[in-house]
């Protein structure tokens, strides 16, 4: 079985890389001890500072297709509990769980002596490290703290340096994503002497507006304020920002990855982009601390499968596969391939390709024929809709086959003015409802026209039905950058 233990910034040891982020789940010793019992390897304490007063309500969320809390938003501030209570509980937790990582998150007003004071008091509690909260984007930032610090490289560097003047334990800087270039802030923290970074904090957000009373959420007596967004929805943004930090040659200090992590797969992805530990909040706020069991189990099984014995064996391995667009091979070609045995006939690939991509997935069936390229171009030229017939009038299925076919005709159309329609035989209708045939609905790909964009594969609900096959273009590998170089050489 794989060894999941980590050492962060040379000094913070943790039995596994799964930490709870500084947030409501780490508000008290009681909660952190429950979390450690459930299996969490570390916890970053709810930010400690001069106690604040919170509002009700505090949270709002985005549901997606009936699934709750795809994205989550809060306007809660830092700890509302006295500093000494928090520090006493940190001491108690460390005494009970000496091998787990406890990191104190701190936020105080931007004065050197105030920071010195809180760092010394906190380290006396036995904490393994400090995380400076330069990320909180709501409320605290209006008072000159949190992201108000994290958005200005000079402030970030200065306060980090103040803390480092007295800190004995590793100092992590928690960064806000609400900046143009997160790497610039990461570099400032490094210059200030930071031992590690935590990223990302929450993203400025308004989750939704109640369409009945027109009030944005969460509501506080008929009003709202912007909050911080997190949860599964932010993971792709967080992954990108983390890679901006881990790829930066000037930074090169350990990163604790945060942002929408709910599963071991999410965690593995952050670590493949260079994170040493990861932090979770929204997922446990949704399901409780027990979530860590599968995170540990899943990551361990995957590592065994891949032959990774320690976290360090795979940490950062995907970074080499991240590059600039200009280095991607433009002569690599894939095309979509549909497995007719797996196709269930929803035809979503067809309509997605037809309406929004490259019009190269066709359906052949009764009453419909795939237009030829010429037909399509002709349709374009005359600004007519393409030769394609979304079925608005369906042929009747019932009554389509009569049991008796004697044509008795309808005599005298009463002096009809318009041309009489051809007389159809009268039928005694029969029960005849053939099920919609799947085989009639299997679309096919025009490989010549397919640009290999992946859209059909992404919309297909059936796993393994659409695959993207590599096609040999017979051309050598060539990126945009290489092509520019080649063209400039030929010009010379």
């Amino acid at each position: 079985m794989a060894d999941l233990s980590i050492t962060f910034a040379k000094k913070i040891k943790s039995p596994n890389p799964f930490w709870l982020a500084s947030a409501p789940p780490t508000n008290s010793g009681f909660q952190v001890m429950r979390a450690f019992e459930a299996g969490w390897g570390g916890a970053v304490w709810k930010t400690i500072g001069e106690p604040i007063v919170n509002t009700t309500s505090r949270y709002s969320s985005i549901d997606y297709n009936g699934v709750r809390m795809m994205g989550f938003n809060n306007i809660e501030l830092i700890s509302d509990r006295p500093i000494e209570d928090n520090l006493r509980e940190i001491y108690e937790v460390k005494k009970r769980f000496p091998h787990h990582a406890v990191i104190a998150s701190l936020m105080v007003e931007s004065k050197r002596e105030v920071w010195h004071d809180i760092v010394k008091r906190t380290e006396d509690s036995g904490t393994d490290g400090l995380e400076l909260n330069f990320g909180c984007p709501h409320g605290m930032s209006e008072r000159g703290m949190g992201s108000a610090v994290g958005q200005v490289p000079e402030y970030c560097e200065m306060i980090t340096a103040w803390v480092k003047e007295v800190a004995q334990t590793p100092v992590l800087i928690k960064l806000t994503p609400n900046v143009t270039n997160i790497a610039a802030i990461g570099r400032a923290a490094k210059r200030g002497g930071a031992d590690g970074l935590s990223a990302i904090n929450t993203i400025n957000s308004i989750t939704s507006i109640d369409l009945q009373d027109l009030t944005p959420r969460p509501k506080v007596r008929g009003k709202s304020a912007h909050g911080g967004y997190c949860g599964p929805a932010v993971k792709p943004i967080a992954l990108n920002m983390v890679s901006q930090l881990t790829c930066d040659p000037e930074i090169q200090i350990p990163v604790s990855g945060i942002g929408g992590i709910s599963t071991w797969q999410d965690a593995a992805e952050f670590m493949l982009l260079g994170c040493t530990s990861i932090q979770v909040c929204t997922a446990v706020m949704h399901y409780g601390f027990r979530l860590v069991e599968d995170m540990i189990d899943g990551l361990s099984n995957w590592m065994d499968e891949k032959g990774f014995k320690t976290i360090e064996d795979f940490r950062g391995l995907s970074l080499a596969r991240m590059t600039d667009w200009g280095n991607l091979d433009m002569n690599y070609k894939i095309v979509a391939s549909i497995d007719p045995d797996k196709c269930i006939g929803c035809d979503l690939c067809h309509i997605a390709c037809w309406d929004t991509a490259h019009q190269c997935i066709h359906i052949e069936g009764e009453g419909r024929e795939a237009p030829t390229r010429n037909e399509r171009e002709a349709a374009m030229n005359f600004l007519q809709p393409p030769v394609h017939h979304p079925l608005t009038v369906h042929e009747p299925i019932l009554h389509s086959r009569g049991i008796t076919n004697q044509n008795i005709g309808i005599s005298g159309n009463g002096g009809a003015r318009r041309a009489a329609p051809p007389i159809t035989p009268l039928h005694a209708s029969t029960q005849d409802a053939p099920p919609a045939l799947r085989s009639n609905r299997v679309p096919y790909v025009d490989e010549e026209e397919c640009v290999g964009c992946n859209l059909c594969w992404l919309v297909c609900p059936v796993e393994g039905c659409i695959t993207m096959k590599e096609v040999d273009t017979g051309l050598p590998e060539e990126s945009w950058n290489k092509r520019l170089k080649r063209l400039s050489q030929t010009a010379e």
Partner: protein, 466 residues
């Protein structure tokens, strides 16, 4: 039914419990979750499978976005009887049977329940999405107040026609009101749905008998002497076109001795009685239902739910040939119905009242012209089934006599009215037809589709006349 010691009755509370919703409605969140499972297929098979071609993915997507208003409108645009169809449609063989999820090792989307969700929304608000069209001065009569006529009338009224429905029973709705198992559709809901048609300006002449040209009443002259009537000739004189939506006639007789004994009833009358008289309807302690179609199942399950201690279905062929839908059979089994397969009743015994059913065992011989193996009696296999009530459910007749009153009306050998495939016009150009009387007995949704299409046939024909 005479009061007999071997007959039972249940209380109103028991009735409500026993005949409560077969499929309870979805809650708001459950509806959104279920709607969100829908893949939103392009040119969706469910829509093709629905005889009225309700745009199923469209109405489901609207539920997912909590636009239930738009969802209800989408359904009613295609099917004015969307509320009853949501409850009584055999979805397994229609929309849900066609759902692509069936090929995906997943349960099909619960289209029926989602449709019901939107229709319940509409009913709770007395939602009337449509209005009568600008009057065009043309008049159409619809004979029969069932689904086919309701659909035809609703469609025509929106086009500006002055439509009158003639129904011989006191309430409109046809079999929806009188002939569908209570746990699927209540008369109250069926009648409420007809109000949507009335809202379009359609006139209802209930309790009016249509008589043939020589003044003879339809059906088996059940109508009281005081009942009003109108003849075909009068209809032809007063209306520009006539739609025939009369459904089917009486239940077929068993043609065996003892059929006139007390306690021998036909399935549709029995269903109508318990639906209209509820707890006043008495049921035998031991009931034999003859036949194994969907109506036979409705009658058998009703007997069991009304308190019968022993209900059996008696069918001359085997389980395999049973004409009821598979899920109806399952329903019957769950209600504890017994089955006497390969059993042919030959005589009903009793003094004044049925006491036992004499039967012979059958075996299956060579296939007949329907392709099913012909049941043949086993020699010396006579046996008796003791029972207090016999319910006949062998299908319905086709109003032979009544339709003879319409001149030049061609019918198929089996009695069905023949129509033009596209226009639903009969061989007498003034008459159009739809529903069970042309298809021999199918679903409510088929009748609605017929009525809609016939309305357009009527419109085209009247326009052509100028």
């Amino acid at each position: 039914m005479a009061s007999k010691p071997n007959f039972v009755q249940i209380s109103e509370a028991q009735f409500r419990t026993n005949f409560s919703d077969l499929h309870p409605p979805l809650g708001d969140n459950a509806a959104v979750v279920e709607a969100s499972r829908c893949l939103f297929c392009f040119d969706a098979p469910c829509t093709i499978a629905c005889p009225t071609h309700i745009d199923v993915p469209k109405f489901i997507k609207k539920i997912a976005t909590r636009n239930v208003h738009g969802s209800a409108r989408t359904i009613l645009e295609a099917n004015i009887l969307g509320a009853s169809c949501a409850k009584v449609c055999p979805v397994d063989v229609l929309c849900e049977g066609a759902c692509v999820m069936n090929h995906h090792n997943e349960k099909p989307i619960q289209i029926g329940l989602l449709q019901r969700y939107a229709m319940d929304w509409a009913d709770q608000r007395d939602y009337q999405p449509f209005a009568a069209g600008n009057p065009n001065g043309k008049k159409v009569a619809c004979i029969g107040g069932g689904p086919a006529s309701l659909a035809c009338a609703a469609e025509l009224a929106q086009m500006g026609y002055d439509v009158t429905i003639y129904e011989r029973k006191p309430l409109a709705g046809g079999l929806n009101t009188y002939g569908i198992a209570e746990y699927k559709l209540t008369p109250k809901d069926a009648v409420r749905e007809t109000e949507r048609v009335r809202h379009l300006g359609v006139k209802f002449e209930c309790g009016v008998e249509v008589t043939d040209h020589i003044g003879e009443a339809t059906g088996k002259a059940k109508a009281p002497a005081t009942q009003r009537s109108i003849s075909f000739r009068e209809l032809e004189d007063q209306y520009n076109a006539v739609f025939i939506g009369i459904g089917l006639g009486e239940t077929l007789d068993l043609k065996i001795p003892g059929e006139d004994l007390g306690g021998v009833v036909d399935a549709l009358s029995f269903i109508e009685e318990y639906k209209t008289r509820r707890t006043k309807c008495r049921v035998g302690k031991r009931v034999a239902v003859i036949g194994a179609g969907n109506t036979a199942v409705d009658a058998a399950t009703a007997a069991a739910r009304l308190g019968a201690a022993e209900v059996r279905m008696v069918y001359r062929r085997s389980e395999k040939e049973m004409p009821a839908f598979a899920y109806e059979y399952e329903l019957a089994k769950r209600d504890g119905i017994n089955f006497n397969w390969l059993t042919q009743p030959v005589r009903i015994h009793g003094k004044k009242h049925v006491e036992k059913l004499e039967c012979v065992r059958m075996e299956l011989g060579k296939p007949d012209k329907t392709g099913r193996r012909r049941p043949e009696p086993v020699p010396r296999s006579k046996f008796f089934i003791e029972c207090d009530m016999v319910i006949k459910s062998l299908g319905q007749t086709k109003f032979e006599g009544f339709l003879q009153g319409i001149l030049h009306l061609n019918r198929a050998k089996d009695g069905r009215v023949m129509v033009d495939e596209m226009t639903y016009q009969t061989s007498n150009p003034k008459y159009f037809a739809g529903g069970d009387c042309i298809n021999g007995g199918q679903e409510v949704v088929d009748a609605v589709a017929d009525g809609k299409k016939a309305a357009h046939g009527i419109h085209g024909w009247i326009q052509g006349l100028g």
